[in-house]
Structures are given as structure tokens and as C-alpha cells.
Symmetry: C2
Subunit: 354 residues, 2 copies
């Protein structure tokens, strides 16, 4: 494995992760790029005690360009993309339109009982493969392990940035959930606060420090919602699933984040996870839109309560039918799920066995 | 004003609210309907300490039928809808596919550390007008006041159901957010728990009992985000808006719910609110998808902390561009808003004046 740090024309970092130690990473970004936008501002919502990032500059970001202008494909002699090299295995670079960064502007008080502070942090893009038409589900085990190497590296690196409180690694897949670039890629948000969902997890775990391990044990004991498992990982539909098809993937050992996984755990995750993703795509015979979210322990506090796990969910509830977040979910946070979790698990299991 | 309670063929209640006291409401539902489905089950998510409603029966609900089969239009001699009468002003009826109801099934333990209980409560549909092609924004002040009469009536009525903890009145508008019926209508959910968003509001208000009044006063003082106001109501974009176009509408007097509004307050709300809705539609010259959510005090506890207000938001951020809830919002609850609230307010104000 070879890791090479380079910089793009506007100063952003780009890091190659290569399977081969002799990969040539000398290519230079020959584009002329506008200066990087300033970080968004964070505004405090006094009614919910949550921070909201206001990122006006993102309105102009690239939106579904034609495939031959994909900014995540390698550059060619005639077309310059975000990746200067003519090929790559896995590449990570700073988002051109980041919600969080170290590039501050000035942020004035706005009134309305809201505090304002700069959106410290970092946003990165992770390209899983140079193959524009592939998907995570079709990566080889070796490719997945290289992606995990990159995730672990970035988790450790971004955790060291002053002001970062949480590192969130995720993949949005499918136009149905608004992805702007179809090339197989994920993202990393290094937040300057602990996110609302993680705050809930921590509050629950504070009352019951073995919470996540207990949930895993109970799901394994019940068995009815287990989708796939091996010696080191279990994938299950949670009993109180919010989404029509939702799968949580837990390592059997409690670790705070991806950087803490052993080599054996990484190796065991790869085939299990891609089989679950293929099962998802197999359900209705169409590429399923999904969000895959790695829950990691916060960077600075209560790390001992965190339990690394992946939460994967799709908004497709049937062929031709999507789950929309309407009034109950979007305004009140109250979820109504139209698919019985045990039935979702049975459907997914039958595809995994398939 | 005349209020007439009737029943549909499957036993559901239907209530007419008429401006004229001599409206004839003797029409009978002549359809043959399947028995009503049982209430969903509630499952407790131990990781977030929230209840999720699992409603498998809703998978088969009516989905965007052709306009000439609209179940919310009045019945005609040849086509029978949900409303037996040949005309109506405002009509409310129990949802045929409710997430919550008093019609329980049996609910078995499911394991996985999740508790299960029946989805006690009630879900109602509120038809704002018999005119299929109208919208809330085009209702006359008298029509809005009749809708508010119905909302107040239903709030009081549903608050009296045993087990109901919160009454949520809302409108989902636009195919972009997944509405299944374009006929102008809203919904009411009487939940058997306090919703996650309301729990946050109450937790914040417990620390600062004048929280909502303080926010209103601060927004009126700042002025930069006020969209419209009159003697009794103010509409403003919150400083920490989550959505591209979000407007909160507060009465100047703290009341717990719609039933507690005075006649003068109802009368003053009507023209203010429809002018805001028309401003929203005027932004890009297209009918804007939106969610309009009435936040009312919980039914049984901490009512003194609640402050009735409406939160209206759209997912459209520009012509041809929607705000999708992807990884950061859907998985972590961390919102990134691409539109500066002061700019959104300025745009809306210019349409209100227009």
C-alpha cells in the first residue's frame, strides 16, 4: 500500500491510496481554479439547541454534469478532472464546495437569539474506484480493504484538526436522494460539533454503557432480523427501523472508530458488506438509492461510549415507490415505516443466499 | 357555522364544517369498503430513545390516482369518493390508512431490546376546499377561518382521546415531497407520544421558560428576517433556518394550541399566512412544494412551556434544484442550508410587497 499526498491547483489536498507501491503520482493539476470559498457559518438554533451550517456558496456547486465531464474520473490528455493522474485505485481530496473548512471568512452577529461561529472542520470526497460505471457493491475485497485503509487514515488525520468533534464517513448513492455525481464515491464530514443523532446515542449509552453490545447480542439472539453474519461482524435490520430497508452492521468487538479495526476485522467486513449491498440491489432488480453512514465515537469526549457501526438505509420502499420524509418525519422527527422489519430482513436474506 | 358529524361505510367519522347553517349533510356513503386496518405498532429504538411507528398496511395506500378519481373531491351521481356529499366547504375525516388509531391488533414482542406497544391515536384528513385545482394560498380569508375552526375543533377533540400525547396539524404540498393526492388538504396526527422535535423544544424551554417569546422579540428587533407582520402575528425566517426557504409564524400572545386562539387572532392570521404562501409560490414562478407544521403544546404535560406557532418550509432551493436530505441530515441530523436566511427573507419580502 502506498499513500501519496499532493495538492490541487487551488491548494486543496489530494491523497492517493494505491495497492501498488510503485504507482507514479507525479501528475500535476494543470487547471486554473477559482479561489476556495470560505467556510460556512454555524448558527445556533435556540429552540432545538443544535447547530445549523449556513453555506451560501454551495448553491453554485456542480450538479449532475454529463458523464464525459465527470470530475471524479481520472484526467486524460484532453480533459482535466479533480484527479490529475490518468488512473487511480482510491483517491481522497478536499471538497471544492465544503460545508466545513479551515478557510474562515468573517461572521457577523445575526440577532434572533442565535449565536454564530465559523464552520471549522473539513469535508473530503473519497473516490472508491476510477471506474465511473461501477458501484461499491461490485468492488473486490481487496478494493474494499483499500477504501477502509483510506477511511481509517482520514479518521485519524481529521480527528487531529483543532476544533473537530466528530468524523462522519458516509456514502450517498442514487439520484433519488439527490446525489450530484454518479461516479462511485463517498464523503467525509469532520464536524466542529457532535451531531444531533450522535448526541442521542451518547445520552442513551450514558444510562447503559453496554447499550450497543446489548443491542447486538439481542439481535443475534432473536435472529429474525439478521441479514448476514460471519465470525467478526453481524448485519441486521433493527427492530425499530425508521426506513423501509435499513441494515445496521456491527463488529462483534467494541471499537471507537475505523482506525481501531484490526486487519482481520477489515478483511471480514469487505465480503459481508458487499453481499448486503448486492442483496439490496437484488430486491427489486434496480440499483437502490441508499445512504451508508459510519457511526464513530466523538473525537474528544465520551469516546468510551461509542461503538463503531454502519447504518445503511434506502428510501425505496417498493418498485416505483419512494419513502418521502414529509410532515411527521421532517417537521416532528416522528418516523412511520411502512415495511415490517422482519419482512425486510427476510427479503434481504433471500437475496444474500441467492 | 355548522358542524355535522357523519360516518363512512367502514365506520370512520366524517365531519362537515359549513359556513352556511342550512347545509344539507344527509348524504350517505354508498360504497362497499374493506374493514379498517389495525393500528400500526410502536417500537422503541433504544439507541435514540424514540418511538417508531411500523405500519405495514400502508404499503397499499392510494398513490397519485388520476384527477377524475380523486377521493377528496365531493361525490357525484356516478363517482363515489371519500366525501358522500355533492359539495362541501371544509371536511375532516379519519384517514383510511392511519398510522395511529383506536383499532388495535395484537402486537408480539420482537426482541432486539425493543419494546412494542399499539399505535394508539388517530389520523385525520382535512380537505380545505372542494375545488380540486385550488390551493391553501388561494383560499379566501373566510375559508381560512373555517379551516382554523376545524383545526381548533379537532385539536380539542383529539386531545381528549385516552393515550394521545400530542396533536400535530400539518399540510404536505407538492409531488416533490411525496404527496399522494394533489387535492388541497392537510392532515392531523394525534400521537401517543411526544415527538422528538417537541421534546427538544420542551427541553430548551425548561431552561428558559420565555424562550419562544424571546425568539419572537429578538426577530422583531433584528427585523432583517421578518417577512410579514400585523398587530397579532409575525412571520420570519429563523436565524438558524434548516431549509432553503423556511418561515415561522408566531402569534404575539403565547397560547398552547389552536383551540386557544381568539377570534381576532384567527381573523388576523388568515390574510398574513396566505400572503406568505403566495410569496413562496412567487419566488420562482412555480408552485412550491412545502410542509406547513403547527407546533402545539403537548396534551398532558408541560403545556405551559408550549407556544403555538407554525413552521413552514420548502425543499426547493432554486428553479430545478431541490434540497435533499442526504447523509449529513438523514443519518446524523446535521443540517447544511445553502441559502442565507437574510437573503431568503429579502426574496420573500419582495414578493409579499409585490
Amino acid at each position: 500500500m502506498k499513500r501519496t499526498i499532493t495538492h490541487l491547483a487551488d491548494g486543496r489536498e489530494l491523497i492517493y491510496f494505491d495497492q501498488r507501491d510503485d504507482a507514479d503520482r507525479s501528475a500535476i493539476d494543470r487547471r486554473t481554479l477559482d479561489p476556495r470559498p470560505v467556510a460556512s457559518e454555524l448558527r445556533y438554533d435556540p429552540l432545538t439547541e443544535e447547530w445549523i451550517a449556513i453555506a451560501g456558496h454551495r448553491q453554485t456547486r456542480t450538479f449532475l454534469p454529463p458523464a464525459d465531464e465527470c470530475p471524479l474520473c481520472p484526467s486524460t490528455d484532453t480533459r482535466l478532472s479533480e484527479i490529475p493522474a490518468h488512473d487511480y485505485d482510491v483517491v481522497v481530496f478536499e471538497n471544492r464546495f465544503p460545508s466545513f473548512s479551515g478557510n474562515f471568512g468573517t461572521y457577523e452577529e445575526v440577532g434572533g437569539l442565535s449565536e454564530v461561529r465559523p464552520g471549522v472542520g473539513r469535508c473530503e470526497v473519497v473516490c472508491f474506484t476510477s471506474d465511473h460505471d461501477s458501484s461499491f457493491s461490485r468492488l473486490s475485497d481487496a478494493q474494499v480493504e483499500l477504501v477502509m485503509e483510506a477511511w481509517a487514515d482520514r479518521t485519524a488525520e481529521l480527528s487531529g484538526i483543532e476544533g473537530v468533534e466528530q468524523v462522519f464517513i458516509f456514502e450517498n448513492r442514487g439520484a433519488e436522494i439527490g446525489i450530484t455525481l454518479p461516479h462511485p464515491h463517498g464523503q467525509i464530514y469532520a464536524y466542529p460539533y457532535i451531531t444531533p443523532r450522535t448526541r442521542l446515542h451518547l445520552a442513551a449509552a450514558e444510562k447503559r454503557p453496554t447499550l450497543f453490545a446489548d443491542v447486538l447480542a439481542a439481535e443475534r439472539a432473536a435472529g429474525t432480523r439478521v441479514v448476514a453474519s460471519n465470525d467478526l461482524w453481524t448485519a441486521f435490520v433493527p427492530a425499530a427501523a425508521r426506513w423501509p430497508f435499513e441494515v445496521h452492521v456491527y463488529p462483534h468487538r467494541q471499537v471507537p472508530d475505523l482506525a481501531a479495526l484490526s486487519e482481520a476485522e477489515r478483511a471480514a467486513f469487505a465480503p459481508l458488506y458487499t453481499s448486503v449491498l448486492r442483496a439490496l440491489d437484488g430486491l427489486f432488480g434496480v440499483a437502490m438509492p441508499y445512504i451508508a453512514a459510519w457511526h464513530q465515537a466523538p473525537v474528544r469526549q465520551r469516546r468510551e461510549l461509542g461503538y463503531l457501526h454502519l447504518e445503511l438505509f434506502s428510501i425505496r420502499r417498493a418498485p416505483g415507490k419512494l419513502k418521502y420524509l414529509a410532515g411527521s418525519e421532517s417537521a416532528m422527527g416522528a418516523f412511520v415505516n411502512d415495511v415490517l422489519p422482519e419482512e425486510a430482513a427476510r427479503m434481504l436474506r433471500s437475496q444474500v443466499d441467492h
